[in-house]
Amino acid sequence: MSRTESAPATGAPGPATASSPRSRRAGPVLSAFLVLLLLSYLYPLLYMVARSFMRFEPGMAASGVGFTLEHYRTVFGGAGFLQYVLNSVFVLAVVVVANVFTSVVTGYAFARFRFPGRSLLFGLVLVTLMVPKQTLMVPILDLVVRLGLHDSLWALILPFCVDSFNVFLLRQYIAALPADLEDAARADGSGEFGILRHVVFPLCRPALAVVVINTAIVTWNSFLFPLILTDSAARRTLPVGLAMLTQGPFSTDWGTLMAGSAVSSIPLILLFWAFQREIIDGITAGALRE
């Protein structure tokens, strides 16, 4: 059930809906403004897509451009493109799934429990977020080699199965949730893991959608680690493969770069579409609060 009137309903306490919990609504002026903002906001991305189809027409040196699929042919035709995509997808899938689990568990522990050294441990969570990774490359390659993970996709997965950003996010999120439900479950005799599984986890769904999206973006676009930790083309991920394809010694192949990034952003866009409703609608506002 949702409201249909667009004028502010003064104080009428109707049933709250997830998509618009409040009586305050945007008028047509505001909507028009947003649309304008949206268009100017999207312009650079439209440019990216347009540029990926552009060809400079012979004979029209100044401005003439034509349509071409050449850049996409270069991207898809590049040796190993499919392999790069498969590698990227595999890494993405494992890392994302792992993070969904680890971020809740870790965030829950930091948000709800007092134990000696908690501040210190949480400080360590932040450390990995704050130290520039460039200085860690030499020892991390050393480590990965010793663990026998060098030139393997697991080198791009295992170190990233718990991400500090996600832990931080979930800690903030869980700390903000009322503990009543957990207490109630505890009073009902639920075990601690039961509470985690059946109470905390469902409550965290919006934050977990953010975790999925954030982890996906970071993992999918990751460049430095795949570059250093793998060597062979068979283990190459998409961003590294595209860098090989588009970077020249003195120039960048713009058209191919744009085509490549347009192609590589499609999975993320789909993922965002799939999970964004979860972020916003995951909590049927009010229902869980009472």
């Binding site: 040796a79 390659l141 010793r146 083309a233 010694p249």
Partner: protein
């Protein structure tokens, strides 16, 4: 190179121990691999599309049964980063392509194999040996070579009343031509001045210093950038800049393509773009102007790609054979013909009609004879940024006296630091030709490694318990 690496007198500390262990482990693994593998495999890191490399490797492998060359591509933006990180972990490839301005550092640090006996017979047949030679020894094979020349827009020359068949050959003519063409209100610019990005400007400015008889490092190894020759060149550049477009290289190339720029110093990569994207663009190439008709020479930046073998190369003999094979004219020409960024270092290639039938490319070939490679120096990277900073400051209005003074001070500091480090590390800590491996004492596992292994073990157990727990709880709750 000192050989007495066994008696290092460095005090013990944990990093050291970790490092030694790593060397030992790698040595062990390498030993095992060498014993186990009947087939010889060599790893080759390079920056090119593999379609240029694979056919050559296939040919080579066919000629050498039982040999495998594994080629792995690096990207131009971060390839050096990867090489350095690998080197720090004793995991450098057997064969590697290095930019010619990097080799000074690599050779002086002693991380490359001496190839003098294996390649000196080719000295006369190739360009660009300079960056492969350190203290009289040869550490690499020139593969590709490139230079920069003066590009000029013949159409704009005609429009401005200049003779398009007589491009400027002296500084004064260059200045006059730029001045005549420069009409910024109409969107026309005289000369393309590189600005706003590091590591490029020096390539475009130094030719004026070199042509004027100046240099950065003299024969005795002293910093001599502050000279009348440099000052003249800077003053000239400052005058030229007034009639110029100050931008990044790719934007300058683009402006030239659109017919907005009269003159620029650029490279052969434009030949891959201009004829295709702007076939009507009537442009010519010329040698970079000399200071005057009766004084100085036309000079340019010379650079390229050098093939080297790292110290840990598993089969130097075979690797040398491979790089000799790879640098042959017929194996290098395809790269030049398609990518057009650099030319074969092998002189034979220039007999190809690709060069002889294209006068605009012929200018490049001619410019190469007077081109100058930047000093092959252990501190070149630092020197490069000192020079770059100095020129950039002048471009943005700095006083020449101050700027050159600051450059001298900066060099002073950098070289002092270098000397100090050399004194602290040498002579014993600089291992050569794989001696480092033998210098490692057969120590047991260091503390941290034991700790790590223990943690992994404990962690696995804890995780297993955790999983069982969760499973139990979930089941209990479900019931």
């Amino acid at each position: 190179m000192p050989i007495n690496t066994c008696d290092r007198v460095t005090p013990f500390h944990p990093l050291h121990a970790a490092r030694r262990l790593s060397v030992a482990v790698v040595a062990l693994v390498l030993a095992l691999v060498t014993v186990a593998g009947a087939e010889t495999e060599l790893v080759f890191w390079n920056f090119w599309d593999q379609k240029f490399i694979t056919p050559v490797i296939q040919k080579f492998e066919a000629l050498h049964p039982g040999v495998k060359i594994r080629s792995e591509q690096l990207n131009w933006g971060n390839g050096l980063d990867k090489i350095v990180v690998a080197l720090a972990n004793d995991r450098a490839p057997d064969i590697c392509e290095l930019g010619s301005t990097w080799t000074g550092k690599f050779m002086s640090e002693g991380v490359l194999l001496d190839l003098t006996e294996r390649v000196s017979d080719l000295r006369d047949q190739y360009h660009l040996w300079e960056p492969a030679i350190w203290e009289g020894r040869i550490y690499g094979m020139p593969w590709l070579v490139g230079t920069r020349v003066l590009f000029y827009n013949r159409g704009l020359f005609k429009a401005a009343g200049l003779d398009p068949d007589r491009p400027p050959s002296t500084w004064d003519q260059l200045l006059a031509a730029a001045k005549t063409i420069h009409q910024p209100e109409k969107g026309l610019y005289g000369f393309g001045v590189n600005a706003g990005e590091g590591h490029i400007l020096y390539k475009k400015f130094l030719p004026f210093v070199w042509g004027n008889g100046g240099s950065i490092i003299d024969e005795k190894g002293k910093f001599c950038f502050d000279s009348p020759a440099t000052r003249e060149a800077l003053e000239f550049y400052r005058r030229l800049m007034v009639y110029g477009l100050k931008e990044k290289q790719d934007i300058l190339d683009d402006a030239f393509k659109r017919g907005r720029l009269g003159l620029e110093i650029s490279g052969s990569w434009n030949f891959a773009k201009y004829p295709k994207e702007a076939p009507d663009l009537d442009f010519g190439t010329a040698l970079i102007p000399a200071p005057a008709a009766d004084r100085g020479t036309s000079s340019s930046f010379l650079g390229g790609e050098i093939l080297v073998l790292f110290r840990n190369c598993r089969d130097p003999q075979l690797a040398t054979e491979f790089i000799r094979f790879l640098t042959r004219a017929e194996h290098t020409l395809p790269i030049t013909k398609e990518a057009l960024v650099s030319f074969p270092a092998n002189k034979e290639a220039f007999a190809d009609e690709f060069f002889t039938k294209n006068p605009r490319l012929g200018v490049f070939v001619k410019q190469m004879e007077t081109g100058v490679h930047p000093p092959v120096h252990p501190l070149w990277i630092e020197l490069e940024s000192i020079v770059n900073d100095a020129v950039e400051k002048v471009l943005y209005g700095g006083s020449i006296d101050e700027v050159l003074g600051a450059a001298a001070t900066a060099y002073e500091r950098v070289s002092l630091q270098f000397e100090e480090r050399k004194r602290a590390v040498s002579p014993s800590a600089v291992p050569s030709d794989g001696q480092a491996v033998q210098a490692v004492p057969a120590a047991g596992l260091p503390g941290w490694a034991i700790l790590l292994l223990a943690l992994i073990a404990v962690g696995t157990v804890v995780n297993a318990i955790l999983l069982v727990f969760i499973y139990g709880e979930v089941k209990k709750n479900a019931a």
